[in-house]
């Protein structure tokens, strides 16, 4: 056993006892796949605790509220987020809730459009990264051997490559025009820690007897991963996606802020870029630069808090703390 364990731990060399995997953005304390808390009871218990867990419910409400705001609010405006509609540099008022920019653009409208892009980039970027990371993790962990070696090498290279620097180069040369293409590039460079984590989990699940039984039932590798291994990790995979979502949002905001965001689309990062560029700080237009950052912090923070709550839901040990 020691050799297997060592092989699993070698690249991950750091790992005390149980493989604990942390996301680059937020260390997530999830131990080895929560020991076989069985099916029906687990689902029922999970729901039971989730609905009573303040963190899950509170975080969920904040996220959903922002999502609703981003989806619905822009529908009530008959002008665009970049149009010069109001008085210049005016503070929040009944008409312009978040005031206006130095050019008389409606900050609130920009804000809600920005929320839209935020969710879109989080969903697409996080989703893509999850897809790549899980696929590579599952394949490496399940097949093992040389395939694992190769994928592991790939994972490690992308892992140490500073993603933002690569994205800056790519974005500058290629020029990003839409949120989905921005999400595409973000997704391509933020999967490695997921692959590593999923690989480690798969490694431990692979040795369970039910995988052998599935093989004795004539199931192929793909079917075993899909029908036996992945369902066992569903809670973990879900939490992973949440972290990737948050990571993508922060990534996109950074790129937008540098001015490498999609053209013609309003985002929270771009709002901050504009505010700094047009000296909103010096002019004291706080309503211009405070909301976008607050929005990101609220959404991502709520997601993280929700994740802690989910961790407590799925791991009874933490519940008792």
């Amino acid at each position: 056993m020691s050799d297997l364990a060592r092989a699993a731990g070698e690249e991950t060399a750091p790992s005390a006892g149980g493989e604990v995997v942390s996301a680059p953005a937020v260390p997530l304390a999830t131990g080895p796949v929560a020991a076989a808390a069985p099916g029906a009871r687990r689902t029922r218990d999970a729901l039971h605790f989730a609905l009573r867990n303040k963190k899950v419910v509170g975080g969920g409400i904040v996220v959903l509220a922002f999502l609703a705001l981003g989806l619905i609010a822009p529908l009530f405006y008959d002008y665009g987020h970049s149009e010069y509609v109001g008085p210049q540099s005016s503070g929040p008022s009944g008409e312009y809730w978040f005031g206006t920019t130095t050019f008389g653009q409606d900050v609130f409208l920009q804000f809600v459009h920005g929320i839209r892009s935020t969710f879109l980039v989080g969903l697409l970027g996080g989703g893509l990264a999850a897809l790549i990371g899980m696929t590579i993790g599952f394949v490496a962990g399940y097949i093992g051997g040389l395939v694992d070696e190769a994928l592991n090498m790939l994972t490690n290279i992308v892992l140490v490559l500073p993603a933002l620097a690569v994205l800056i180069i790519l974005h500058t040369y290629i020029g990003i025009t839409s949120v989905p293409s921005q999400a595409l590039f973000i997704g391509i460079f933020s999967w490695p820690w997921v692959a590593r984590a999923v690989r480690a989990q798969t490694f431990s699940l692979r040795t369970r007897d039910f995988v052998d039984l599935a093989r004795l039932s004539g199931m192929g590798s793909g079917a075993i991963i899909r029908r036996e291994i992945a369902p066992n990790m569903s809670s973990y995979l879900f939490m992973t996606f949440i972290l990737l979502f948050g990571g993508s949002v922060l990534f996109a905001a950074t790129l937008d802020f540098i001015g490498l965001g999609p053209t013609g689309v309003m985002s929270l990062g771009l709002m901050m870029n504009n505010a700094v560029h047009w000296s909103a700080l010096q002019l004291g237009l706080w309503w211009w630069f405070l909301p976008p950052g607050l929005g990101i912090t609220a959404i991502v923070g709520a997601l993280y808090i929700m994740n802690v709550g989910l961790d407590e839901v799925f791991n009874p040990k933490l519940r008792e703390m």
């Binding site: 005390a16 006892g17 008792e320």
Partner: protein
């Protein structure tokens, strides 16, 4: 009288209510006695073993008391109990393979642990080394990290460490279940040797393997569904058990020499009751071939013969 347990009840808190894992145990363990505590899963044997040294956060002391060497043992009070742990009551845990801090050299860990308990490492080191010699461990292991030791070595290390301060009572929790037949024997015999050399006064060996504990124990106590079923000298439990559960259990165990073709053994039909809301009366009665009307009343755990306690109406 070394250990006296009086009507001890320890429950586990769960969402659906209390699981009555240990529901009223009264017994004694004499000085120098090795008591085998045998039972199947869910019999409450581990709960009993653990409760004598440390209740974990889900365990709740409901009732009852424990006396060690004539003084009450504050098992319900985590802080007060601390003074007794290691020195008066000690434990060899089931997880001996992972019981040592992986990032500390073993000797250093022991020295820090002893220091924190007010014992000078330098004073006890000669004795520690003698005991390492005794169990066949090189003294150099003190300079090793746990990862450098094999499973059997770690097991022996924990054995030595747990008994280093000569506790009155040692609880050995399934210490041999993860070991091979030959190592198993060595570890089991070491336990006896430690008792003979008076490193520990008395011992409770928690196990699911009666045939193993029979080899080393003076007495065997059998538990069933959170209750005591029978306690007697080891030979009596194995050769002349009085409780129907013990009788059936022992007759269901194959041993070398018994063959299916010659003599077909039989198990005990049915399964133990759930402990969330266990039925009143004798908990074995649903599976018991001797059950009769009176079994709806709970049979007391009484002495039916010298040093032979049984909880069964038919045995009295």
């Amino acid at each position: 009288m070394s250990l006296r347990v009086d009507n001890l009840k320890v429950y586990y808190r769960t969402l659906r209510g209390d699981v009555k894992a240990l529901d009223g145990a009264t017994f004694t363990v004499a000085d120098g006695e090795i008591m085998g505590l045998a039972g199947e899963s869910g019999s409450g044997k581990s709960t009993l073993g653990k409760s004598l040294i440390r209740l974990d956060t889900r365990m709740r002391l409901v009732e009852g008391g424990v006396e060690l060497d004539g003084k009450p043992l504050p098992i319900g009070d985590q802080d007060a109990m601390n003074a007794y742990r290691f020195k008066a009551v000690s434990l060899i845990p089931q997880y001996a393979m992972s019981a040592l801090n992986p990032t500390r050299k073993i000797g250093k860990m022991i020295s820090e642990l002893l220091g924190a308990r007010g014992v000078k490492y330098s004073e006890i080191k000669p004795e520690l080394e003698r005991r390492l010699d005794l169990v066949g461990l090189k003294r150099e292991v003190l300079n090793n990290y746990p990862i450098e030791l094999s499973g059997g070595m770690k097991q022996r290390m924990v054995l030595v460490l747990s008994t280093l301060l000569n506790p009155s009572l040692l609880i050995a929790d399934e210490v041999t279940s993860a070991l091979d037949v030959s190592t198993q024997r060595a570890v089991a015999e070491t336990l006896v040797e430690f008792r003979d050399r008076e490193f520990v006064k008395s011992m409770i060996v928690v196990t699911h393997d009666i045939s193993l504990v029979y080899q080393i124990a003076d007495t065997i106590m059998v538990m069933y569904a959170g209750k005591l079923a029978e306690k007697a000298p080891a030979d009596v439990v194995v050769n002349a058990p009085r409780h129907p559960y013990t009788q059936l259990l022992i007759s269901s165990l194959p041993e070398v020499g018994v063959r299916y073709a010659d003599r077909k053994l039989a198990g005990i039909p049915g399964s133990p009751p759930g402990l969330l809301n266990p039925p009143a009366g004798c908990r074995f009665r649903d599976r018991c071939p001797l059950a009769f009307a009176r079994c709806v009343e709970e049979p007391p755990f009484v002495e039916v013969d010298k040093n032979h306690h049984v909880a069964c109406w038919k045995a009295q």
